[in-house]
């Protein structure tokens, strides 16, 4: 009963803050709405005995990723929303389709039946502690996906640097134009 109540509370807050994050005029407020959202997501994980995931959710998403978002927002320092014309001329059709998809997704939850559970039931997880259960699974059955993720991160690092780094010729051009800020070898 209590856990159901907590679930409903978390789910409700997640939905509300999700909407707020999109609707807020001030981007910093949006980020904070997402922060609250992440905390309630961590709450949901706790409800499932996934305490490790809950902690990681907060450390990684709230503690690192969102902070980086804030960083970008501060550097850009938008106090007002930038308004542009809609990219799609006839957005009512898109709204209609989205609403239809939404209805369908809601409707099909009626026919949802829980499939065959695996060996990690909530009791099994509680017994082994979540961190250990996760560790065992990741480093035995899911070792290949784990390694692929490592590769994805490598690509993200390489690609990120590649796109953000200034080319040597760009730096030279900028120097010729007399921009003083780029004199240190194009470091950003």
């Amino acid at each position: 009963m209590l856990s159901k109540f907590i679930f409903l509370y978390c789910a409700l807050v997640i939905v509300i803050t999700g909407i707020l994050a999109v609707r807020f005029r001030n981007p910093v407020h949006s980020v904070l709405a997402v922060l609250v959202l992440f905390f309630h997501m961590a709450g949901l994980y706790l409800l499932l005995n996934a305490e490790f995931l809950a902690a990681i959710q907060i450390i990684v998403y709230a503690g690192a990723i969102l902070v980086l978002y804030l960083f970008v927002l501060f550097l850009v320092n938008i106090r007002q929303e930038i308004k542009t014309e809609r990219f799609v001329a006839n957005h009512n059709i898109s709204k209609f389709i989205s609403f239809l998809v939404f209805l369908i997704l809601i409707a099909v939850t009626q026919s949802f039946r829980l499939g065959t559970p695996g060996k990690w039931t909530t009791d099994a997880i509680r017994q082994a502690t979540h961190t250990k259960a996760l560790g065992i699974e990741i480093f035995t059955s899911y070792i290949l996906p784990f390694e692929i993720i490592a590769l994805i991160l490598l690509v993200a690092v390489v690609g990120g640097i590649l796109l953000a780094k200034q080319d040597k010729q760009e730096v030279v051009m900028a120097q010729k134009e007399g921009s003083g800020s780029l004199t240190r070898g194009g470091k950003k």
Binding site: I104, L105, A107, V108, T109, Q110, S111, F112, R113, L114, G115, T116, P117, G118, K119, A124, A128, K132, A133, I136, F139, T140, S141, Y142, I143, L144, P145, I148, I149, L151, I152, L154, V155, A156, V158, G159, G160, I161, L162, L163, D167, Q169, E170
Partner: protein, 481 residues
């Protein structure tokens, strides 16, 4: 608890081709850092791809990492297509990067990493591996598309592709989570059993999950109505990457479609068959009709690649081995003809002109008869005119679809094929029957470009005259299915 580990060192021997590519990718970053010579990189990549290709045919086949990674003839075939695509791209890039003044060594390593992703997708026996392979492939390609940093079209393309790709990934994950919740597994072979044993064939939630997965992969193969990103991205990306995207990631996505739909959900064919049929017709219609209006050859080829995805869907649509082998065969042939056409496009791109506009091809037959003749062959093949390889590919696709009973779809495909002849042959008309608007400089050829063109021609002629080996290889690889 359970200490069973499916990982042993011997399972690495099944991953030979992937590991070779991976080490080449990392080596490339190091080489780029310490060596000034830019020409080292493409040839190193090409060599790595060749080694990987050789290893591909000499690796043992089996299922490793539990059930996660399936090395069978089916995956070997698609890996071959992807590797051929990469090989072409590398050969084309050698000259293209110098004309565009792209000096990033990471270009090649990202290309290689993206190929590793495709190979993981193709071999994935578990939806999680498939998804991660897809991400690895897509992430590398997002970066590659935006590599022309001075060109706002390239920036736009990269951003657009990234946003749309992220959105489709979201749909894919939502679909996978629905399917996982209903069946309790992400293992593809287990899935097909559970679908039957849990009686999910008519379950709405399951069908929506499958639909979402389908949408995500239709996005990756740029099938209508999920093709919106394709023309802009193909046009904005560096030409070599456009050629790459039209061939390799598309083949990988088709491989997954084939594996998921025909291996995992063959029993649900009654539901997804008509949807694929509709998508195929729509894709062919939009691709072919929109291509007519294009003034830029690059954009026209983008629409043509959408149309070709529609043709390839015909084989999936059939839902049986005959259809799938026809699709495999077609994708292999398409790799050669499309790469050939892009090779010409890149060949004509130099400091003065970009070789992307149709006007650049006026009177090409008079100034460069050989180049024009090659282009002629590739275009004929793309139309699917009888003596060429393209005809053979299309023929088997249509036969498979007829055998499966989709007569209307086949008729539509033929009509659109005829329409496509108009815009392909318009290029031929420009080349042979019009006079050059301006004085065109002689094209400069490079070793990589020569190799690419020769390879494309050999492939085309080989497939047109002896289509047997590839067809039987594709057919044989499906026996275990």
């Amino acid at each position: 608890m359970n200490t069973f580990s499916p990982f042993t060192l011997s399972s690495l021997s099944f991953l030979g081709p992937e590991l070779v590519l991976l080490s080449v990718g990392i080596l490339l970053i190091v080489v780029d850092l310490f060596f000034e010579n830019r020409l080292l990189l493409p040839w190193l990549t090409a060599a790595g791809t060749l080694v990987s290709l050789v290893l591909l045919f000499n690796s043992p086949s089996g299922i490793v990492f539990g059930y996660m990674y399936v090395v069978d003839a089916y995956s070997v075939f698609f890996k071959m297509v992807c590797l051929v695509g990469v090989l072409f791209t590398v050969l084309l890039s050698e000259r293209y990067l110098t004309t565009e003044k792209l000096r990033h060594g990471e270009y090649y390593s990202l290309l290689v990493f993206s190929t590793v992703g495709m190979m993981a997708m193709v071999s994935g026996g578990d939806l999680i591996v498939v998804y991660l392979g897809l991400e690895l492939m897509a992430l590398s390609v997002y970066c590659l598309v935006g590599l022309l940093k001075q060109d706002s079209r390239s920036n736009e393309a990269s951003l657009k592709y990234f946003l749309m790709g992220a959105f489709s990934t979201g749909l894919l994950l939502y679909g996978i989570s629905l399917i996982y919740g209903l069946t309790g597994t992400t293992d593809l072979s287990m899935l097909s059993q559970r679908v039957v044993s849990l009686d999910l064939i008519n379950n709405h939630a399951f069908l929506v999950g499958l639909g979402l997965v389908l949408v995500a992969f239709c996005f990756k193969v740029a099938a209508a109505p999920f093709h919106m990103w394709a023309p802009d991205v193909y046009e904005g990306a560096p030409s070599s990457i456009t050629a790459f995207m039209a061939v390799a990631p598309k083949a990988a996505a088709f491989a997954v479609l084939g594996r998921v739909l025909i291996m995992g959900f063959a029993d649900v064919h009654i539901h997804w068959g008509p949807i694929i049929a509709f998508l195929a017709v729509l894709t062919m219609a939009i691709g072919n009709i929109a291509a007519i209006a294009q003034k830029s050859l690059k954009r026209m080829l983008a629409y043509s690649s959408i149309a070709h995805a529609g043709y390839a869907l015909l084989g999936i649509l059939a839902g049986n081995n005959e259809g799938l082998s026809a699709t495999m065969n077609y994708l292999f042939i398409y790799a050669f003809m499309n790469m050939g056409a892009f090779a010409i496009l890149i060949l004509l791109c130099d400091n003065k002109r970009r070789g992307e506009q149709l006007d650049d091809y006026r009177g090409l037959a008079k100034t460069n008869p050989l180049v024009a003749a090659l282009m002629l062959v590739f275009l004929f093949s793309l139309v699917g005119l009888p003596p060429t390889a393209g005809f053979i590919g299309k023929f088997y696709l249509l036969v498979a679809a007829i055998h499966a009973g989709y007569i209307v779809t086949v008729v539509a495909a033929m009509i659109f094929s005829v329409i496509s002849a108009y815009y392909y042959l318009r290029v031929v008309r420009y080349m042979y029957f019009e006079n050059a608007v301006q004085e065109t400089a002689a094209v400069s050829i490079s070793p990589g470009m020569t190799a690419a063109l020769v390879l494309a021609m050999i492939g085309m002629i080989g497939m047109a005259t002896f289509p047997g080996p590839i067809l039987s290889f594709a057919g044989k690889s499906l026996i275990g299915f």
